[in-house]
Symmetry: C2
Subunit: 255 residues, 2 copies
Amino acid sequence: MSIAKDVLTTTLSRKQREIREREQLILDTAQALLHQHGYNYLTMERVAETIEYSKGTIYNHFTSKEDLICSLCCRCISNLIEIFERACKYSGSTRERYSAIGIGYSLYHQLHPMDSQNIQTVKNNAVREKLSVEKLAEMEALEFEIIQLTQSIVQQAIECGDLEKKYEKDISTIVFGLWSMHYGALLLNQSDIPLNELGFNPVVTMLWKNTNCFLDGYQWQPLSTVSDPNKLFDKISSALFQDELKKLKKCTNNT
Amino acid sequence: MSIAKDVLTTTLSRKQREIREREQLILDTAQALLHQHGYNYLTMERVAETIEYSKGTIYNHFTSKEDLICSLCCRCISNLIEIFERACKYSGSTRERYSAIGIGYSLYHQLHPMDSQNIQTVKNNAVREKLSVEKLAEMEALEFEIIQLTQSIVQQAIECGDLEKKYEKDISTIVFGLWSMHYGALLLNQSDIPLNELGFNPVVTMLWKNTNCFLDGYQWQPLSTVSDPNKLFDKISSALFQDELKKLKKCTNNT
DNA sequence: ACCTGAACACCGTTCAAGT
DNA sequence: ACCTGAACACCGTTCAAGT
């Protein structure tokens, strides 16, 4: 009985599971093509060939090439949100948690450069122009989630006095400051401007320094001058990327 | 004799002048198509039709569609450099001049949103992948010019003591801070994230506030707390965009 | 109900023919 | 020496036919 029921429910949902799995397969394939051979190599034809289905089937999952790319982007933003949630849960002062968001952002992009390329691809007008309003709304909802998470920490900082009350009207400005600084840095980093040849330090290092000065400028307590910023960086980054570091350790132990 | 010589030299260079003029015409046309109907409406065919030449002729000027778009982008960056040069010449403290760079950047993008869209278009991988190394080098050279202009002000600030000596090793980091903050803000602004619906202040306002806090964090003298930042903004922006404001005045007087 | 792939549309690019 | 536009290549998208 129990087995029969299992079989029944399995049978009922198998098709759905198959479809869901194939959708992930398409996304994985598209991501791999994009990452390995660049944007112009990614064609619907090639995705179809790789997964051994016809082009028509892909269009059953995604209404257009742009829709496929945007879905890829949404998956990457979801991964990023997960990091941000970890940062919010970090046990430390409000300033440490806010810093953790920045660190999570920049380290995530360093650890997963292809994800960050995917996210940028959708910012392009040629792609955006072809997206449906529904798809754009889906992406916007994810971006909104990120803003909310970030904003909540600034709010808490004001409530507990780490940030002066007079900055209450600047909450969204402070969010925008961290966001624009990191977003801009990420894009400059992955553009092919040869930053290190031009004498710039590593982007993660510069971002950390600049974020600290930015928050010091808002007098967000405790100021970066009262403790060692480098130690704090290591502390937060190892806390945020515990899982990733574990994986790396495992790999090196096995070999 | 003199006339004959004039005719001769005119004849000799007429072709060249014609070609140069046509090149600008192609760029203007492409920009107009891009601005009025979006990226996907801009085709080589349509550009050819509009300027009443054949497609082959356009390929005599530009080796590919991407080459055309990149040339458009370079023209826009040159315009931006002109603003930056004005900012560097601004008579005021080093901090005021550095601020002027930021203000020039954000106001330029506000006054010429289509230029800033052009600049962004080339950041897209689909376009970059197809560019020749020469074209990329041309753009890089322009970007380098911007960096140099910005860096020179930070250098001066350290020399005259407006910035503490200990920040000498952070010069490029301070440049990167202003750059990433403004670049990120610009991109967020022209993406279709509805910033004002999400409760954000106007981007130019937020940038000015954040830049001041950023520079305060580096203790760049004089701090924004000793004078009215809003007055300074108005002073700098009217000095930088004198020409533009004159034009606007003329227009309103004539009508 | 789902999958297929031939056929179509569109656009970037080339090059033989024309002036 | 320069310009033209037919012809080609490539790729996104559709949909009648098949299972």
